[in-house]
Amino acid sequence: MLEVETPLLGRGLVVDAHIDPIVCTVGSVDEAQRYLLPSPEAPMKRLLAAGSGPIFQIAKAFRQGETGRLHQPEFTMLEWYRPGLDYRELMDEVGTLMQALLGIETWVKRTHTSIFQDILGVDPQTATANELADIARIAGVTFSADAGPADRDAWLDVVFATCVEPRLDPTVPTFIHDFPASQAALATLSGEDPPVAQRFELIYGGMELCNGYRELLDAPAHAQRFDAENARREAMHKPRITPDAALIAAIDHGLPPCAGVAVGFDRVVMLACGAATIDDVVAFSA
C-alpha cells in the first residue's frame, strides 16, 4: 500500500449537513476562498481515480465548532482505501490493525437495526419521530422548549448518541454496520427494501473510532447527495458549501470499486495510553 500526502486546502468539499468547514482566504480576489479540509477523502479519491491503487495517509483534518472531551477543531486522521475489497472485509482489516495497536483479541459486528432493536426495542427504519423522542425523554434527554429536533432523522442521531452508544460494552470492540439510507454520506445503498447504507463504524472504549464505506462510484449520485446536503444546511440556516467539482469530475472519469475508512487517530492514541481526553494526547490544544 502506497503512503500519500494530499493538500489540506481545497476549493470545494464533500458537502455534509453536519460537518462545518473552517473557511480561509489565500488572496484578495473572489476566487481566493479555500476550505481547510474536514477529511482527506476528496483528494485521495482523485488519486484512486487516477489509478493509484491502494493508498493510505495520516493527515490533519479541520472542523469548525467541534471542541470537547473527544473533539478538537484540528485533529489527526488515518485514512485508507482498498480497490477491490468489500466493506465487510475492511471491517476485519480495521480490527486487525486495532489488534496490533491496542492488543484487542476479537471484535463483533452488528447491524445498526439489530443494535437499536436489542437495546431499545425499536426498528430505526420505521420508528417515528415521536417514538424516538419518547425514548430520549425517558433516558433524561430534555430539550428546551424551542430546541428539540424537528425531524425523524435528527432524532435518530440524538437517540444513537445518547441512548445507544453509551450502553455498548466499552470493553468489546463493536462494528456497527448497515445504517439507515438517510445516513449514507458517500456510501453505496444496498438493493434491500428498505435499502441500507453500506457503511460501518467501530465503537470501542466508549468512543467512535472509525467510519468506513463501500464507496459510491456514481458521479450524478454524488452531485445529488451534495445538493441534498446543502438543502439541509439551508434549512438549518447554515452557509452553503461549494461542492468539490474536481472530485465529481474524477468520479465521472471512473473510481475503481473500493472500500475506504477513516480512523480518528488521536482517539486510538488515547486508548493506547489510557488518556481521558483528546487534549492529553496532542502537544498543544487548538
Partner: protein, 191 residues
C-alpha cells in the same frame, strides 16, 4: 455582552437564561455521531435557587445570555432586615435582604471585600471570598500535645458559624474557612 450564545460558546461558567431565570453552566459535554448532528449536554445551576438541571442542545442552537454582572463592594453593616454594602468607586450603597444574602452571612466581616451579583439590575447573591479568616470565640480546650488532625471538635467563630476544627485549636485562634463548604482549612495564627 452578547444577548444570545451559540452552542459552540458553551463552557463552564457561562451564564444563560432558561425559562426566564438565570443559570450558570457547571458542566458541558459535546457528543457527535460520525455522520450526524452534534449534541451538547449541559448541567446548569439556577442562580436563584441552587437547583442543578440537565439540558440538551443541538449544535448551532441559540440560547439567551443572562444579563448577570458582578461588582466588588465592601461590607459595611447590618440592619434588622438588610445587609448594607458600599461600592468604593461610586460610593453607591446596596441594601440586600437577609434572605438574599443567605449562608454568605456566615462569612461577612465589616470592611470585607465581597462580590455582589446582579441579574437584570437586581441583586441575586453575595459572594464572599473563597477563603475567610475568622476568630474562634468558643471551643472546648484541646488535649495537650494532641496535634492529630483526625480528631475534630466544633468551634464557634466570630460570625456565629460553627466549624469543625482539629483538636489543637484554642479560643482566640484565627482559622481559615472555605466559604463554599464551611470546612476548616488551616490555622492562620495562635491566640
Amino acid at each position: 455582552m452578547a444577548s444570545t450564545y451559540s452552542t459552540s460558546d458553551f463552557r463552564r461558567g457561562l451564564r444563560i437564561e432558561l425559562d426566564g431565570e438565570p443559570y450558570i453552566i457547571v458542566e458541558s459535554e459535546f457528543m457527535k455521531p460520525g455522520k450526524g448532528q452534534g449534541i451538547y449536554r449541559i448541567k446548569c445551576k439556577n442562580l436563584l435557587r441552587e437547583r442543578v438541571i440537565d439540558k440538551t442542545y443541538r449544535s448551532g442552537d441559540k440560547i439567551a445570555a443572562a444579563d448577570v454582572q458582578e461588582t466588588s463592594v465592601d461590607y459595611s453593616y447590618k440592619t434588622g432586615t438588610d445587609y448594607v454594602f458600599m461600592d468604593m468607586e461610586t460610593f453607591e450603597q446596596h441594601e440586600v435582604l437577609n434572605a438574599t444574602v443567605g449562608d454568605a452571612a456566615n462569612y461577612l466581616l465589616e470592611g470585607m471585600k465581597v462580590m455582589v451579583v446582579f441579574w437584570n439590575g437586581q441583586v441575586i447573591s453575595i459572594e464572599p471570598p473563597r477563603h475567610v479568616d475568622l476568630v474562634v470565640e468558643y471551643c472546648e480546650p484541646g488535649a495537650r500535645g494532641n496535634t492529630a488532625t483526625s480528631v475534630q471538635k466544633p468551634a464557634k467563630v466570630e460570625t456565629g458559624l460553627e466549624v469543625n476544627v482539629p483538636g489543637f485549636i484554642n479560643i482566640g485562634d484565627v482559622v481559615k474557612v472555605d466559604s463554599r463548604t464551611g470546612d476548616y482549612v488551616e490555622r492562620v495564627s495562635k491566640a
